[in-house]
């Protein structure tokens, strides 16, 4: 477990994005072609493929191309490492921090000048 923290960091980084979390959620129901995975997202295929690459680089998913179809699936052994209370706590605090940033930047910065 000496690389526990590093491992968590990489898994956490991979899952720190809503698109990537959604992809992993979907893949836990079973393997799926890239085209099907990309459907729910309002982004170009190149952007979506970047997300898949992060997941694949961090070993959370794997993919294989057969003919013209690339199919993805989740890698259970890596996900086992993610079953961690600390990861959950990190995710919670990361999301909380991001919400704070979004709230301040979106709803409060207009008042900066007024407040002097």
């Amino acid at each position: 477990m000496e690389n526990y923290v590093t491992l968590l960091d990489s898994v956490f980084r991979a899952l720190a994005d809503p698109t990537r979390r959604a992809v992993v959620s979907r893949l836990m129901r079973g393997p799926a072609p890239v085209k099907v995975l990309a459907e729910p997202f309002a982004m170009g295929l190149p952007s979506f493929l970047k997300h898949l690459k992060v997941l694949e680089d961090d070993g959370l998913i794997a993919s294989k191309k057969v003919g013209r179809v690339r199919t993805c699936w989740v890698k259970a052994e890596r996900l086992a490492a993610a079953e961690s209370w600390l990861l959950e706590q990190r995710a919670l605090w990361q999301a909380r921090t991001d919400r704070l940033a979004a709230h301040v930047e979106t709803h409060m910065t207009g008042s900066t000048d007024d407040a002097g």
Binding site: S25, L79, W85, L86, E88, Q89, R99, L100, H103
Partner: protein
């Protein structure tokens, strides 16, 4: 020295001065907007910003009753710079046995025209923290982790 797995640090840049980030933390109306993710509703019961002052938030999903979320007390309050709270004490230094024992050290540091905002969170131990999962606690993001856990268990 490698960090103990029971400690975590989250830091990021926020494009607003420390005074404003502090305001988002120290004003109940603002805190309620970001402390808990949508669609869960947050109620700020206590936000007594002084050492020994109570800190309590409750949460509600849908039309049910508000449930306990965080209950603790502040240990240190330095406006626009540092905020420390713990859940092992409640208002007035009263010892407590929380479902999740933690101490959070929140720092607000001026960086350029914005703020370097960091949360360092200390936990008692893994076993203690696992208990809260058994109690069915969840907070939005936890969903995917729960799915992961269930998935991993299925793979057995």
């Amino acid at each position: 020295m490698q960090a103990e797995p029971s400690e975590l640090t989250i830091a990021r840049y926020i494009d607003a001065p420390p005074a404003l980030v502090w305001k988002a933390w120290s004003t109940p109306e603002h805190l309620a907007r970001w402390w808990i993710p949508h669609p869960i509703e947050c109620q700020v019961i206590k936000l007594d910003l002084r050492p020994g002052g109570g800190f309590e938030t409750r949460m509600r999903e849908g039309a049910g009753d508000f449930q306990p979320h965080v209950e603790g007390c502040f240990l240190e309050v330095i406006p626009e710079a540092r905020l420390i709270f713990t859940t092992v004490l409640t208002e007035g230094w009263q010892p407590a046995e929380p479902w999740l024992a933690l101490t959070a050290i929140i720092t607000f540091e001026k960086e350029g025209r914005g703020t370097r905002y960091a949360s360092r969170v200390l936990h008692k131990n893994a076993a203690d923290s696992r208990r809260h999962e058994e109690m069915g606690f969840h907070e939005g993001w936890g969903t995917v982790i729960e799915q992961l856990a269930a998935f991993v268990r299925r793979q057995g």
